[in-house]
């Protein structure tokens, strides 16, 4: 039965059976290129790869080595570190209160002490932009963790045990894939009255897990056919031991890659839902809410929209770049 195809992974699938050798060849060339690029920085310690003196490196230490040398990773990592810090301690770089607004200042442009100007309610746009990071980062991180855990457990178990449960799970993921995400969000969240971030996170986990579960299922199926798993089975290892000790460490890389890229898209989705009026609700400070409010006054005071929109774009960009860098490090043949 032809499986539904993953758009993101399609490039590899398209090579087909005949391309296996090309793929191996291209992997070798990219690896060689990677080594050559790392050469000058490696210094005298960087011996020939696979030589008798070179210590054995695991996938993870190898990936970490690649990442530390990747400027994309360093830049996006610094941006994300900064975002996490200001969402934990927003008062570190702003002394204002995001809910302290004076209507007399409504829509005013920038002035000393208020570099980004004021919004429609007369709140300081700079303060609100800084405080807005918290909602976005919380939603992104919590939704990704939830999706990754739920998706990889369900997908991994289905891939490992196969049979009826696998078939049922595949049909369930098909059902979730058939529902447009923004639409599902509008329907489900329009009845929620709570103004915390949790309904939004719950919704993202509910509609996001099938994506990860498909990836996890595929990669567990690949991993369980490897010789070392067969060897472990022949030695009498229990299912739990095989899954946790042998399969999981070798199947988790694609999940991490997809989850990191998804984190950025969840932040964008939260903002989109807030823009449509069903995401986060007002006392929470969120870029989506601010952009939505500012869009009505876009002719008179575009600065109210541009600052939170810029912050949102940089945040999403940072997470997507991080995901790209992690993918390059963990899976050189996808480069």
């Amino acid at each position: 039965m032809p499986e539904p195809h993953e758009p993101a992974e399609g490039a590899v699938a398209g090579t087909g059976m005949g391309g296996a050798m090309d793929l191996a060849a291209s992997e070798a060339t990219t690896l060689a290129a990677g080594e050559a690029g790392a050469g000058p920085g490696a210094g005298p310690g960087g011996g020939p790869r696979g030589g008798p003196s070179a210590p054995a490196r695991s996938l993870w230490s190898d990936a970490w080595r690649d990442l530390r040398r990747n400027p994309v990773f360093l830049v996006s990592g610094l941006i994300i570190l900064f975002l996490v810090l200001i969402s934990l301690w927003p008062s570190a770089i702003t002394s204002g209160d995001p809910l302290d607004c004076d209507l007399a200042n409504a829509q005013k442009g920038s002035s000393p002490g208020h570099p980004f100007g004021f919004n429609g309610q007369g709140c300081d746009v700079y303060t609100r932009t800084v405080y807005g990071a918290r909602a976005s980062v919380t939603v992104g991180v919590c939704a990704t963790l939830g999706v990754a855990v739920l998706g990889s457990v369900l997908g991994g178990l289905a891939g490992f045990f196969g049979g009826v449960w696998d078939a049922i799970l595949s049909r369930i993921t098909d059902v979730f894939f058939a529902i447009p995400v923004v639409l599902g969000g509008l329907v489900l969240l329009s009845v929620v009255t709570s103004n915390t971030v949790w309904p939004v996170i719950g919704f993202m986990v509910l509609l996001g897990w099938p994506q990860i579960s498909r990836i996890a299922r595929g990669s567990v199926i690949t991993a369980k056919q490897h010789d070392y798993v067969q060897a472990a089975r022949a030695l009498g290892a229990s299912n739990a031991r095989m899954l946790l000790r042998h399969i999981a460490p070798n199947a988790v890389a694609p999940v991490i890659v997809v989850a990191t890229i998804a984190l950025g898209t969840y932040i964008a989705l939260e903002a989109t839902l807030s823009y449509l009026g069903v995401g986060l609700k007002p006392p929470t400070v969120s870029w989506g809410i601010d952009i939505s409010a500012a869009s009505q006054y876009i002719r008179n005071a575009p600065h109210m929209l541009l600052w939170p929109a810029g912050a949102l774009a940089v945040t999403v960009l940072a997470f997507i770049m991080l995901g790209d860098a992690v993918r390059d490090a963990l899976d050189p043949k996808l480069r």
Binding site: P2, T15, G16, L312, V316
Partner: protein
């Protein structure tokens, strides 16, 4: 081929039932379907009970779902909150959204594949790097921000387009909204084509074609492009459903009275029939698009045969 299509159609049935049931439950169980009928005020209990009885809402949910689906398959999608037939709303809304989606797909194909081929053939050159950075930026800026910014600059500041689309929504009015709707997918198409082209460029059949002295143009269009477009066609096909569902944001920005607009109104007014009806059609579109993509495989890639 025929048997494959029948098997796929049969497989669609559980997915269709599952997806529509899920939406039906979300709308009916979580919301209060009669609340919308009383306008902004709260219904008094007697009226609510009478309305519930009238619409069969006092019956168990599975029975309501069965009745609803029975009606849908006889072409009766029910009535919206203002007494209009849902099918009437659909007949005005769907043509607009289909036009918008077509414009978006034309952009995806024309710009996305062209850029993808250009960058895939020039990997590592400045053009490649520039386009890659551009696609990253486009992916990172959420659609509603892109839309609002284009509306601000093109529509308000420079006056190139009208900021909002008229109710006829002709194709020339839909060019900018179509570009906005396509933007994120456009970037994905570019990257996917680029990866695919770059990978297949080293394939044996390309080397053979070059060795036998075919002109470069013919190698690229007949051999390289045809093989590299398979994953791209998959993506664009599955994207049709996503575009029509995602048009809700674009339609809101540019005030286009399409599917997204009707759905948004339906959700605001808690009109169960409108929401479930439109979503049912969208789910069907998504499933059919997937089937067509899988059949197109056999056309594009003769190695694939469906028994």
């Amino acid at each position: 081929m025929g048997r494959y299509v029948i098997r796929r159609l049969l497989q669609m049935i559980p997915v269709f039932i599952g997806a529509t049931l899920l939406i039906f439950l979300m709308v009916n169980v979580m919301g209060d379907p009669v609340a919308g009928l009383c306008g902004d005020r709260r219904c008094d209990p007697a009226t609510a009970a009478r309305l519930k009885k009238e619409f069969g809402l006092d019956k168990p949910v599975w029975q309501q779902y069965a009745t609803y689906m029975g009606n849908v398959f006889t072409g009766d999608f029910g009535t919206a909150f203002n007494g209009q037939k849902v099918t009437e709303l659909m007949s005005t809304a769907f043509p607009v959204t289909i036009r918008l989606t077509l414009v978006a797909i034309v952009f995806e194909i024309a710009i996305g594949i062209t850029l993808g081929v250009l960058t895939g053939l020039r990997r590592g050159r400045p053009v490649d790097t520039a386009v890659l950075i551009l696609t990253l930026v486009v992916i990172s800026v959420p659609t509603f921000v892109t839309g609002l910014l284009l509306q601000l600059f093109l529509g308000v500041e420079w006056g190139v387009i009208k900021p909002s689309v008229s109710s006829e929504a002709t194709v020339d009015e839909l060019i900018v909204p179509g570009l906005v709707l396509a933007s994120v997918s456009l970037a994905y198409v570019t990257r996917l084509t680029r990866t695919s082209i770059a990978e297949n460029r080293r394939a044996d059949y390309v080397r053979t074609a070059v060795a036998k002295g075919l002109p470069r143009r013919r190698v690229i269009t007949r051999h390289l492009l045809r093989n590299s477009l398979i994953p791209v066609v998959t993506f664009i096909g599955t994207d049709v459903g996503a575009l029509m569902g995602g048009a809700i944001v674009t339609e809101r920005i540019f005030n286009i009275h399409g599917v997204g607009f009707q759905l948004y109104q339906g959700i605001l007014r808690q009109s169960t029939q409108t929401v479930v009806g439109f979503v049912t059609v969208l789910v069907l579109v998504f499933l059919m698009a997937n089937l067509i993509v899988d059949l197109l495989y056999a056309v594009l890639d003769p190695r694939i045969r469906y028994a």
